[in-house]
Subunit: 218 residues, 2 copies
């Protein structure tokens, strides 16, 4: 099961396969063929088979794929077969919303700390987790196995904070700040950017096109 040189496009699709397989599992479906799955997901059966075969032969000729097995295997590939300790840096609205979102925990992403610079928030609890001051970060990371740092702080402070965290040994960043952290970080780190405003702009682009095509409006 040597995985190397898997294309970004394939990786991007994996979580979606995982979601669909989870739903099939909930529905009690035991087996599924690539063509059945392709119909549900609106992708080609060819693509499904190509994608999965990057990681190994999970199917069986003449039968298809066992849903539970495939679900489990994709889960392993995605690293969902174990717990990842996460901290949230920036306890504003978005940071607190993410901390409150229990579904991540079910997938193994455990929020073990929330940090902010605002002294007003000191000691305030979110889902049982007290908000700590950012100056406590180095010690906290030393005493806890922090794998992922979620950055929900203003762009101006995000890079500096990421560098500090990197120095403390954090390897992975889930970045909500409006900046390309991956380009600015010296060294080898995992950065996943979530740029909500860019998502909204794409929506706006498509809406604008749509409206100019259907201008039967008043």
């Amino acid at each position: 099961m040597e995985e190397k040189g898997i294309s970004r496009a394939v990786i991007k699709r994996l979580p979606r396969y995982y979601r669909y397989l989870g739903e099939l599992l909930e529905d009690g479906v035991e087996r599924i063929s690539s063509s059945e799955l392709s119909e549900r997901m609106k992708v080609t059966a060819s693509q499904i088979r190509q994608d999965l075969n990057n990681f190994g032969g999970f199917g069986q000729q003449g039968y298809g794929y066992n849903v539970r097995y495939l679900y489990t295997e994709i889960g392993k590939i995605l690293g969902l077969d174990r717990t990842h300790n996460m901290i949230i840096v920036g306890a504003g609205n978005l940071g607190q919303a993410l901390a409150n979102y229990a579904a991540f925990e079910r997938s193994g992403f455990k929020t073990i700390g929330i940090f902010d610079i605002n002294p007003v928030l000191k000691g305030v609890s979110v889902r049982g987790i007290p908000i700590r001051m950012t100056d406590e970060l180095p010690e906290f990371i030393r005493n806890n196995n922090v794998e992922i740092a979620t950055l929900t702080l203003p762009k101006a402070k995000a890079l500096e904070m990421a560098k500090l965290l990197a120095d403390c040994g954090v390897k992975a960043f889930w970045n909500f700040a409006h900046t390309d952290l991956n380009l600015a970080m010296p060294g080898n780190y995992i950065v996943e950017n979530v740029h909500l405003s860019e998502s909204l702009m794409r929506l706006s682009y498509n809406l604008t096109r749509y409206e100019s095509e259907h201008k039967q409006q008043s």
Copy 2:
């Protein structure tokens, strides 16, 4: 300036150009060449020129691009030259966090209503906007020009709600529910999915690969 058949890949990059140009503008940079911009953004100059030329010749040979002009033009393409009225359906943590996020408003996305089914939230205000009950939605949409509906509600209720909103005339959906709304909606609608859990899984995938490559850990 006929725009048609612009590839999804190009559209995905547009907001990023817009962001970088905005920063250049803030820094007082007047003109920039594709090669200078390519260095900052870590893409090829060729790609920048190709991308921009999908929409028109914004540059000048021997000079480059005027930052302010290009910024404005891309803004127009993205539909940021006017206001878009938005409602948020689902006033949980994420819905409230998005409502509180003032930066969207600066880009022209104006939250004019927040809705939930939970009677406890009735009348609670978020950034001056009272949370209304979802049964008021049809009338609200009739009386207000609602272009975009942000869906921050559980997956189980998202599709039903989207259909109701569509019937009321809402054309665009910013969907945070864990479901592929675009595939499930009958008819022609604009759907932009934000699947945070899938983003986190991609992070986890990359982290897992990274750790298995650097297993000098205890």
